[in-house]
Symmetry: C2
Subunit: 452 residues, 2 copies
């Protein structure tokens, strides 16, 4: 994995870049943070850092059972209990996986996150309930969306008379919460979200690993990759630590150069969902006290025809990270089907991946020329090991960014108000007071409304 | 359709909102723009405005033929020749459409936009080439990605000996371009991108309508909805014109209140791709001369567990538009499967859509309380007519925003540099000079690179 920071520096992008002296300047300042992090880790306060070294034999055997017993597998989870699952599935299984003939894949794979009735009815149209395993994931054991979807599915299974306890697997806190109590009452098997690991840092726990194993992914290689990255992100020296460099370059570009937006732009369909996972990690960890960059996902080359005009010529308020792949699992060599036409001739003899990666270099070139800071992470191939490395890199970078912004990257107090207002609307006990706020802030009466 | 601007105003969000006096202030200023727009329209300079009134009989009969002759339909197009197709398909057909049993749908529907070899090989794994119709769409007739994918598909069809001219339909400029010439040479049937309509304004031309008709959508209702919106967006009075209000509120919030980011957040899975279509429209039209808001897509409730912490407590630099649906095509009423558990009891008797829409109101309430400007567009149902209205609304708002920002909303000069650099890398004749720029701005040599 190659991480190229060159185009973040002032010798490439002028006043919009960082003076290369920032490394010397911050090398000593950062050592205090580093040592604090190391001591917290030793005290067991950062358990997400130890996840590469867990035993996954129980996950693998349970996943084997599910793979051989069911035609479809549905994760019921949202946020940190959904985004990581989509990311691993999309990154490591073929595009259009669910449409492959049965003999070329494991159980069909779905994540039911939203409480959109049309998504749920769409799902029910394409699965056979009796041949489907549901993995209900909620750290707290009370997430509204997850509980609502679980209630409906449980009801449907009961009506069909097929809710054998083997068909539902619960992933939740090992000691508390309603979902754990329900699992015990009904005899559902349980997996664990380790208490000290927050939802958005949980993809390398049972939350992400079990569904990945059901999907046939190599979760040992995933953890091995994460462990390899741990060696790099444990280094004290800023110039050698990729997570610290990722964090501090973004922090300084935000603080000093007005780059309030951080774009993650993979040039790979399979890596697009990695950007969704990153969006949660970055936004929910760092968006506090009026601080935090707004993370955006974009996709190359598709968004060259949608967003690049803006990135290139709009406000210079972004730092862009490209994710790039050198060698694809399959490729095509172009021949010139239509000799004599300028629009095709230059493709002859090139691989399709050459066009993709040349487009990425073209975009970098154009952005850099216009002094738009950008960087690039290149994977030799998309493998479980490399995805494990990427995950760990971004998790450590996020945690470290908390130090720089002087905020706690592990909480999310800003989502509580909205939840309370929703509880009030649904008549949940103890939230009557919030109804006044709803009337005050969300009423259409006496408002400025157009009917068209 | 109800458009609620209330929470953009200062009486709801304090200093971060607009003084309601803006309407009086801008009412007269805007009349000049309006009259210019009207006279340009009369002179035929804004042909996208006349699209609701076209004859679609040929599209419909060609689509009927394709529907009855093929098992799969693949759009080969990118940007304005892809995003609108995905948007219409996702908005108006069921979620998981391609996985439905054959008797419950038309041909499987795909959009091949990217030049990612793994996407193409994934597609080839799940379609039967001989039973697939390809619609190659490029306004210029030379879009790199589209031509590359077309070349490969054409080659595969030729190798199989099945490239009957009926299997490929070309949508391009009616008078010029390599794709048109190739179509003539090979005897492919053609559809038209009207010369005066830019790619991102072309969803209501053959570009979007033909694939929509193949997917079984009611394109007459789509146009009818657009025509209905035309009545509203043709009004001279700012306070009555939803497109002008949409444009000017966003412009003023950007210029005067630092809202550099515009989030479009549907609370509906089916409307999520509408946000992708909007992203292109807004970014590519307005991202010029250092101006333009950065459009972001988000999805409720999923992104409540990912982005709302940031939107609520991060920098107050966003204006958020919710898209909401009152009545869904299907719904579920929740019963309490697990009496005695607090995490479920409050759902009893509620529909799943109540939870979804209560979550939206909860989010609005919380954001407004924190002085984050937001607005809401509510559809009674997701119908072709309502989608037509939405499309037309946003297109006129975008065109009108061009006046406000004093830029041309119909060009995209900022994408040329990247293309030229790509051509240089691929050895296209006439671009050798650009190779120097690539070496200067995109080289990893003598750069700041970490191998991990």
């Amino acid at each position: 994995m190659r991480i190229d920071f060159s185009n973040l520096l002032s010798d490439r992008v002028g006043e919009h870049g960082l003076d290369p002296g920032f490394i010397k300047e911050y090398e000593s300042k950062i050592i205090d943070f580093h040592r604090d992090l190391v001591s917290k880790r030793k005290a067991g306060e950062l358990p997400f850092l130890e996840l590469p070294y867990q035993d996954v034999s129980r996950i693998i055997s349970l996943a084997e059972e599910v793979r051989s017993s069911f035609d479809a597998f549905v994760v019921i989870g949202i946020g940190g209990s959904g985004l990581g699952n989509v990311m691993l599935q999309n990154a490591l299984n073929p595009v259009f996986y669910n449409e492959l003939p049965k003999e070329k894949r494991g159980p069909k794979f779905y994540v039911l996150d939203n409480v959109d009735p049309e998504k749920l009815s769409g799902l029910l149209n394409v699965i056979d309930l009796e041949r489907t395993c549901f993995n209900v994931i909620s750290k707290s054991g009370s997430t509204s969306e997850t509980m609502a979807n679980f209630l409906i599915i449980h009801n449907l299974l009961r009506e069909k008379g097929v809710n054998g306890p083997k068909q539902i697997i619960i992933t939740t806190d090992p000691e508390k919460g309603d979902l754990l109590a329900i699992a015990k009452e009904k005899g559902f098997r349980t997996l664990v979200v380790p208490p000290g690991v927050g939802g958005r840092f949980s993809v390398l726990t049972d939350v992400g690993l079990f569904p990945a194993a059901v999907a046939g992914l190599d979760i040992k290689a995933l953890l091995q990759g994460a462990g390899e990255m741990d060696k790099h992100t444990s280094k004290e020296l800023l110039s050698e630590n990729p997570a610290y460099l990722l964090a501090i370059t973004h922090y300084l570009l935000n603080r000093d150069k007005g780059k309030s937006i951080s774009v993650l732009m993979p040039y790979s369909e399979r890596l697009y969902s990695f950007a969704d996972w990153y969006r949660q990690l970055w936004a929910e960890s760092l968006g506090k006290d009026g601080k935090g960059q707004t993370p955006i996902k974009a996709l190359g080359t598709v968004d060259q025809h949608s967003q690049i005009q803006l990135y290139n010529s709009g406000p210079n308020d972004k730092v862009i990270t490209f994710l790039k792949v050198e060698e694809f699992a399959s490729d095509f060599t172009l021949s010139n089907e239509f000799p004599g036409y300028k629009a095709c001739g230059y493709f002859e003899g090139h691989k399709l991946s050459d066009i993709l990666n040349s487009a990425q270099i073209g975009t970098t070139t154009a952005l850099t020329k216009k002094q738009r800071p950008n960087m690039c992470i290149t994977l030799n191939r998309i493998t479980a090991q490399n995805i494990g490395k990427l995950i760990y890199l971004y998790e450590v970078a996020t945690a470290f960014s908390g130090y720089l912004y002087e905020i706690n990257p592990f909480d999310q107090p800003g989502v509580e108000d909205g939840k309370k207002a929703m509880y009030a609307l649904l008549g949940r006990e103890g939230y009557a007071e919030q109804a006044d706020e709803v009337r005050k802030f969300a009423s259409s009466e006496d408002g400025f409304v157009l009917e068209v």
